[in-house]
């Protein structure tokens, strides 16, 4: 399916990551955005609020992030593609209704332009410390998808992918930018509308009599419909059966929650995405995502100059985690080095998958800036020993 030309600002631009993300969302067909201003994410909705009135989209600045996320889940049930945008403190407030979105199996996109935390932290400076929250932030068991762009161009391209994945798997997709990428300005090339592939929401063609909102038996993803088409369906944040009716029992919980988890875990091979560079024969593999992936490249160049065989793996989709690939590499490489702008989050996943077969070295950074390449270099040299 090709996108609506009205939302596509074809051409070569000089945009920051926030604007590029906003443009990508509009190109993906997003036509409803609810948000609450928060640095450093606000430029995304500023961009959108200037462009929506000429393309049939609605932006509403809600009273808080609780309301923003609730409005997005509501709007998703009208068939309109929708998104909200925030940063750390707002992301925390959204967790309640991100859980609702997961439970109701609602396609939507949540952009988090990460800053330093905890609490109000460093509003104008970068961080990557919400990456575990993107996976575990709301209570209960569920699986979501998280993506992490490394540049404004990728903010544009990947947010389209985020919308596509949310449609394919009926989940809220977390778009985990960071302040650096959000406020970094670079050339962004927006292709013509007919060259942008998007996944359209596929509404069920079952009749209202035979349609069940959570009937996923025999298929991985239940068919979706929308409000206002005569289905008169019911959906709830409570544990529910295939009719969407609450059922308070351990059996139904098992039926319901296992599906939420399995629909992502069992499709992880299709969802997972990463870039690899010189992995074959490498002694050390550096794993990074977002802005840190770019900083890491300088350290890798330095290490190669010193004769170390370093491979590089850049996570584009962070959740689900590329477990399979890292398990394959474990044992074949001496060590993994994981720089990230937090005190150790994704590194724990790498360590889990390495399962003691390779050493895993974290390179933490508290936030407010990026790593010095020399610090990453030191970790690489250490892991190569």
């Amino acid at each position: 399916m090709k996108t609506d030309p009205a939302g596509v600002l074809t051409g070569t631009h000089y945009f920051d990551g926030d604007w590029a993300c906003g443009e990508g969302a509009m190109a993906a067909g997003c036509r409803f955005v609810a948000g609450y201003p928060i640095t450093p994410s606000t430029e995304v909705v500023e961009r959108i609020s200037g462009r929506f009135p000429t393309m049939g989209g609605t932006f509403i600045q809600m009273e808080d992030e609780l309301g923003s996320m609730a409005a997005v889940v509501g709007a998703a049930w009208t068939g309109t593609k929708c998104m909200t945008v925030t940063s750390g403190p707002g992301f925390s407030l959204m967790m309640e209704n991100i859980g609702l979105g997961a439970m109701m199996e609602t396609p939507c996109v949540v952009v988090n332009v990460q800053r330093g935390g905890p609490s109000t932290g460093l509003p104008t400076m970068t961080g990557q410390a919400d990456i575990m929250q993107a996976r575990w932030g709301s209570h209960g068991d569920y699986e979501l998808i998280s993506l992490s762009p490394q540049s404004p161009q990728e903010a544009f391209d990947l947010v389209i992918e985020a919308f596509n994945l949310s449609e394919l798997y009926r989940v809220p997709v977390m778009f985990m930018m960071d302040e650096c990428v959000g406020h970094m300005t670079e050339k962004v090339i927006i292709p013509p509308a007919e060259e942008i592939e998007i996944v359209q929401r596929k509404l069920s063609d079952k009749s209202p009599e035979e349609y069940l909102p959570y009937d996923f038996e025999g298929k991985e993803i239940p068919e979706i419909i929308r409000a206002g088409d005569g289905y008169r369906f019911h959906t709830t944040g409570l544990t529910h059966d295939k009719r969407g009716y609450p059922v308070m029992s351990a059996e139904c919980q098992e039926f319901n929650v296992r599906h939420l988890v399995d629909k992502i875990r069992q499709n992880a091979d299709d969802i997972v995405r990463y870039d690899e560079e010189q992995i074959d024969g490498a002694d050390v593999v550096v794993i990074a995502y977002g802005i840190t992936a770019r900083v890491t490249r300088m350290a890798i160049d330095m290490a190669r100059e010193k004769g170390v065989k370093v491979g590089f793996m850049r996570l584009i989709v962070v959740w689900p985690f590329p477990e399979k690939r890292i398990r394959e590499l474990a044992g074949n490489v001496k060590g993994f080095v994981v720089p990230e702008i937090n005190y150790g989050q994704v590194v724990l996943e790498v360590e889990r998958c390495a399962a003691g077969k390779s050493t895993t070295v974290g390179v933490p950074h508290g936030g407010g800036g990026v790593h010095d390449p020399e610090v990453i270099l030191e970790a690489i040299m250490g892991a190569a020993q």
Partner: protein, 202 residues
């Protein structure tokens, strides 16, 4: 040029970020290379130290931060004191003549322009940064005058293009008069040419 690093600094309200944006736009979009701009500013909207960093390269910029700038553009004395030490020993210093008293190291080249005064003479202090961009273009020659003019036109608020181009030309002319080979270069290109360029709304 494989890679050059530029720092532009001043106080909030001087249009530091916009001038960086114009330089980056000219180099990346109009000249077809790559330019990565990073900004840092305090939480105050006006008056605080403000700085923008540009990494320009003919190849894709991987590492987006600057470490030792090749070019340091400075529009406030506070900014000068904060960042002067990081300029490369053979770097280029471009400064606001009335606000900054630089002490360049041996080997560093320094070029001053009274950009605020020139902007005042044009009637609007606010275009000081564009005067500086014009002067910068003359000093560095990293992109053609025309590519930079187009970037100015595309980046300033609509309705203010004429004033801003005038400011740009004034900065450019100041360089030619004070440092150039003496030629007043206003006759180079017809100034309306850039208008057909698709306007970006930023």
């Amino acid at each position: 040029m494989s890679r050059a690093e530029i720092r532009i600094t001043g106080f909030g309200g001087q249009g530091v970020v916009l001038s960086g944006h114009i330089v980056g736009h000219a180099y990346a979009v109009n000249a077809g290379h790559h330019a990565t701009m990073i900004q840092s500013f305090g939480p105050e909207a006006r008056g605080s130290a403000c700085s923008t960093m540009l990494s320009i390269s003919e190849e894709e910029v991987l590492y987006p931060y600057i470490r030792r700038p090749d070019i340091f553009v400075v529009m406030s004395s506070e900014g000068y004191e904060k960042y002067c030490d990081e300029l490369k020993d053979d770097g280029t210093l471009i400064y606001e003549k009335d606000l900054v008293e630089p002490q360049p190291k041996k080997g560093q080249k320094a070029f001053g322009v009274p950009s605020t005064r020139i902007a005042e003479s044009l009637g609007r202090t606010i275009v000081q940064n564009i005067v500086m961009v014009g002067f910068f273009t003359g000093v560095t020659g990293i992109v053609s005058r025309e590519d930079m003019r187009k970037a100015v036109e595309a980046s300033v608020p609509s309705g203010t293009e004429e004033l801003n181009l005038k400011a740009f030309d004034a900065g450019w002319d100041y360089y030619q008069t004070e440092y150039g080979e003496g030629g007043d270069s206003k006759d180079e290109e017809p100034q309306e040419k850039a208008e057909e360029e698709g306007k970006e709304d930023r």
